[in-house]
């Protein structure tokens, strides 16, 4: 319907878009860390407190027998936080940037990219600290650590699909974020972050195996602790692909109309 010989923002080359993405991410990082004495250290406080509290609950109160529990917990909770934080803030990727979306012809997906990128940077910074701390907890370095790379890639693929879906849904239904918040809470407990897959009774196993986060968290745990990879790999990848298709379809269906609604 619309014939455009060359349609783009001024100088709207791929490199200009990459610069914009980079600038949006660095804006969010600056805003998060500026004006605080501790700066980046604040991002360590949350996982550190989680570590202390969960270790006390699971090691002391519940006498969980998971070896190297603190590192096991970190290997699961950091990718989980990355997933949950990125998903929650991506809900507002379109609605929260309506001022820009209504006035500048930028591809709207750039705001999803900046949410995922921003949370990825924080995740990787904290992850490096945990990797440095591994020997302190008596966990040796092995070549399995390279599994972190496919782990991060799989998680980002899942995030792309999920964030496209929820951000577009949030344009259609403004209570999406409330529903998502409840879902994420339940989702956390059906993901083996605080417990091992092996301790799950057989009849509940199917729930965990259908959860794509199970296999992703598993990759990280296996990378750090050398535990074996449990199954669910193909199911997880299949679900990720499905979600990307769903998100892309939803976004493409509403990308022009949403400008008039947000």
């Amino acid at each position: 319907m619309i014939g455009r010989l060359r349609r783009s923002i001024s100088g709207g080359s791929a490199s200009a878009l990459r610069d914009l993405l980079f600038n949006l991410i660095s804006r969010d990082l600056k805003l998060k860390y500026q004006g605080s004495v501790l700066g980046f250290l604040w991002s360590l406080v949350n996982p550190l407190m989680t570590l202390v509290i969960y270790s006390w609950v699971f090691l002391v109160l519940m006498k969980s027998g998971i070896p190297h529990f603190p590192i096991f917990l970190m290997a699961g909770i950091l990718p989980w936080n990355f997933f949950a934080n990125a998903t929650m803030s991506s809900v507002d990727a379109f609605t929260g940037n309506s001022g820009l979306i209504k006035k500048v012809p930028v591809p709207k997906t750039i705001f999803i990219g900046s949410v995922i990128g921003f949370n990825l940077v924080i995740f990787l910074m904290v992850l490096v600290i945990v990797l440095i701390a591994m020997p302190v907890f008596g966990v040796p370095y092995t070549f399995r650590l390279f599994l972190i790379i496919p782990g991060v890639l799989a998680e980002m693929a899942l995030l792309v699909g999920l964030s496209l879906t929820v951000s577009t849904l949030n344009v259609l239904f403004h209570d999406t974020s409330h529903i998502l918040e409840i879902m994420l809470m339940a989702w956390f407990w059906i993901t083996p972050v605080t417990y091992e897959m092996a301790s799950v009774p057989d009849k509940f196993r199917i729930i965990l195996e259908l959860n794509p986060m199970t296999f992703i968290i598993n990759i990280f745990q296996s990378a750090v602790l050398g535990s074996s990879l449990s199954g669910g790999f193909y199911i997880g990848l299949g679900e990720i692909l499905l979600l990307i298709f769903l998100g892309a379809w939803l976004y493409r269906r509403y990308r022009y109309e949403m400008v008039e609604w947000i």
Binding site: M1, I2, G3, R4, L5, R6, R7, S8, I9, S10, G11, G12, S13, S15, A16, D19, L20, F22, N23, L24, R27, K30, L31, Q34, G35, G99, L100, I101, K102, K103, V104, P105, V106, V171, L172, F173, H174, D175, T176, I179, Y256, E257, V259, E260, W261, I262
Partner: protein
């Protein structure tokens, strides 16, 4: 007569563009409400349709400056957004040849907690300027905005005039083939207004295709060589700027006939 060359090349072609807005189709409802409505078997509220743009056609060639005038609500800004590719027409089409930049609002994406410099860089990249181009013109931007000693101060310490000056100066570094402007002419005090108007004229004369919207007829007469008058009745009058603008002026001055 000078025919040929780039001057005659069509940069924007608006063909039979119609835009219908459905005012009740506010899809931002709650999922809860939608489910309840569905369970109760309630029907959708009836559509309230408005058609700000009806079969609007015109073209802009390279080097032409086209002003769009009309009363509030006739769809001037909507038309600019359709040309910019931000929203889609309900029917009809727009053809664009060249890189396009729209200044539909000055200082988009400004954040009060970031410094003038950081905001300038971000705003520049929102307008599609490459990183190197922004960095190279930062000094120029600061001096044009007369904010050299304020570039490392957070924007929240700026007066609103200072913010507008910064936004305008960044916006003036864009270098597209096609420029869309929506009421961005009066910025800062009188002195700065004159300076910025001069810069704008310079930019417009640089053989660009320009479409601008303004209620200020003096500005329009000075800048435009063609004009489009979108009337409330849905008629599109286009032609020589002075002629069309005078007609619009007369229309606006005529007593209300309702």
């Amino acid at each position: 007569m000078d025919i040929g060359g780039d001057k005659l090349q069509t940069a924007i072609e608006v063909m039979e563009v119609t835009k219908v807005f459905n005012l009740t189709a506010d899809r931002r409802r709650s999922l809860k409400g939608t489910v309840i409505r569905f369970l109760k078997g309630q029907k959708k509220p009836p559509d309230v349709l408005i058609t700000p743009l009806q079969r609007v056609s015109f073209s802009v060639r390279r080097g032409e400056v086209v002003g769009i005038v009309g009363e509030n609500g006739v769809g001037k800004s909507t038309l600019l957004k359709i040309i910019a590719g931000i929203i889609r027409p309900s029917s009809g089409s727009v053809r664009i040849d060249g890189r396009i930049a729209g200044l539909l609002e000055i200082g988009l994406g400004f954040h009060p907690d970031l410094t003038g410099r950081e905001n300038a860089i971000l705003y520049g990249s929102i307008l599609g300027l490459p990183k190197a181009a922004i960095r190279n013109s930062l000094d120029q931007i600061a001096s044009f905005a007369e904010l050299e000693s304020f570039m490392d101060v957070p924007l929240k310490k700026y007066s609103s005039g200072m913010q507008m000056r910064l936004g305008f100066s960044v916006a003036m570094t864009v270098d597209p083939d096609i420029l869309l402007l929506d009421e961005v002419f009066s910025v800062g005090d009188q002195k700065f207004q004159q300076k910025s108007f001069g810069r704008l004229e310079e930019m417009i004369r640089a053989n660009k295709a320009v479409v601008l919207v303004s209620h200020d007829l003096n500005v329009m007469k000075r800048l435009c060589n063609k004009a489009v008058f979108l009337s409330k009745s849905g008629e599109t009058i286009l032609g020589d700027a002075t002629e069309v603008l005078d007609r619009y002026d007369a229309y606006m001055r005529s007593p209300v006939t309702e």
